[in-house]
Amino acid sequence: MKKYIILLALFISTDSVMAQDKKAPAKDSNPADSLLNSMSVDNGKDPVNDFKATRLILMQTTKTISKNTLNFMVLHRFGDLAGKNGGGQTDFGLDAIADVYIGFEYGITDNLNVDFGRSTIGKLVSFDLKYALLRENKDGSVPVSLTLFGENGINTYGVYNSFSARLSYLAQAIISRQITKTLSIQVSPGYSSDNTANPFIYGNDLHFFSLGGAAHLRVSKHMSLVADYEHPFSSFRTTANGFHDGVGAGIEIETGGHVFTLNLSNAQAIDPINSLSNTQQSISKGQYRIGFTISRIFDFNHKSTYK
């Protein structure tokens, strides 16, 4: 009988001891602590803080802007810094304009953006849709961010056979991953389709695949180093024919609602429809240039609390 009473006492006493939460820190000596930890919200499902801007230098990032916000962007590429068109005579390219893009991005939802803009090269007016399909999150349950990008460009001036001859298309799947707290990398396979060969040379491919890669390194709270690279898989666009892959490197500064990027790249064109189809600038010939991006976010969400 006594044996049973002892056993009963042991069973009842274990009933009131709570199981330690596996996620609780080692210092938990208190059942209240582990209870508190099991109840509080874990931020593991939050998206990672990787890119600060929707564009690096040559290409789009996986970041989309939030619902009901408007991103106004101006991108500029100057003339050749070095080589026969560069040097002091053209103020290292600053005297000349290679391409200017002025455009807007609007967040239809947090994951769907519609963009509209115009480039000097080709007098290209472009409309894009950008959709963030997957967002990498902090606990790694979603390991990559995947954004789909579709662009339609219209060459607005110049002589073309028909309206549809003016059109070009680009589809890209942008995949990014945050490798360390400060470094994020991205790959963008894509498919371009030009209705008129760009450049307009006999034998040029109208349809071709491409692959882009990019890296973003956070140096301080507001400054990052960025680099990107793109390669068109086109049998016509070889180095022998004068084509070169686009490469860019730069510094990105984020303050308040603005993001500024100062960069060097060989590609003259800003819009990827142009730069993937037609980059004939060679770094070894000094045909790289200074470029910059200015962007400003306007938030149309709630009435401003400004006084």
Binding site: K2, I5, I6, A9, L10, I12, S13, S16, V17, P31, A32, D33, L35, L36, N37, M39, S40, V41, D42, N43, D46, N49, S66, K67, T69, K138, K181, K221, H222, G256, G257, I297, D299, N301, H302, T305, Y306, K307
Partner: protein, 180 residues
């Protein structure tokens, strides 16, 4: 043998004592900053708290990234620049209510809580005043207190000095039910 059973039974009763826990999983925490150019408000409804009626121990935990701001950019900056919520995901309070609360009797009691407030990785000893309302076995606690950014090494750059106040007003409302 008799003594062993007595000791064991006494041991098991002590487990039951000090276990009178009340929990809240959805405490509302508001922050409010009033500065010359801009008023900043944010709210979260997922504060977690445990209150031990027998010992008076009160523990609170809030996950910083759950604070919702009316402007997305404000929320991004709050998390990445000011609170660094990647490094310090939670703000916690571990303290003790000085007054003994009788949860069986309905009533409203002003209370003083002494404890450690940890925000942005920096802990400060605080004495916070609040109110406890008991009604039908449900405890509601409310409190309003100030948190000084400098106390917790939250750096406000001079450039945005007129947009963000040095002391943030916190409002907490938590409803506790007995933990079974």
């Amino acid at each position: 043998m008799k003594y062993i059973t007595i000791i064991l039974l006494a041991w098991f009763t002590t487990f039951q004592a000090g276990q009178n826990l009340y929990v809240c999983k959805n405490a509302k925490v508001n922050l409010y900053s009033s500065a010359p150019i801009e008023d900043i408000k944010a709210e979260t409804n997922s504060g977690a708290s445990v209150y031990n009626v027998s010992t008076g121990e009160l523990d609170f935990s809030v996950t910083i990234s759950t604070f919702k701001f009316p402007k997305e950019l404000m929320q991004e900056h709050f998390n990445s620049d000011y609170m660094e919520s990647d490094k310090f995901p939670k703000a916690t309070f571990k303290g003790k209510i000085a007054e003994q609360i009788d949860v069986t009797k309905d009533g409203s009691y002003p209370v003083t809580v002494d404890g450690d407030l940890a925000v942005h990785g920096v802990t400060q000893k605080r004495t916070i005043k609040g109110k406890v309302d008991v009604k039908g076995g449900v405890i509601t606690m409310t409190s309003q207190f100030m948190v000084k950014c400098a106390d917790h090494h939250i750096d406000i750059p001079r450039l945005v000095f007129h947009n963000i106040a040095e002391s943030i007003q916190m409002n907490v409302t938590a409803t506790y039910t007995a933990y079974k």
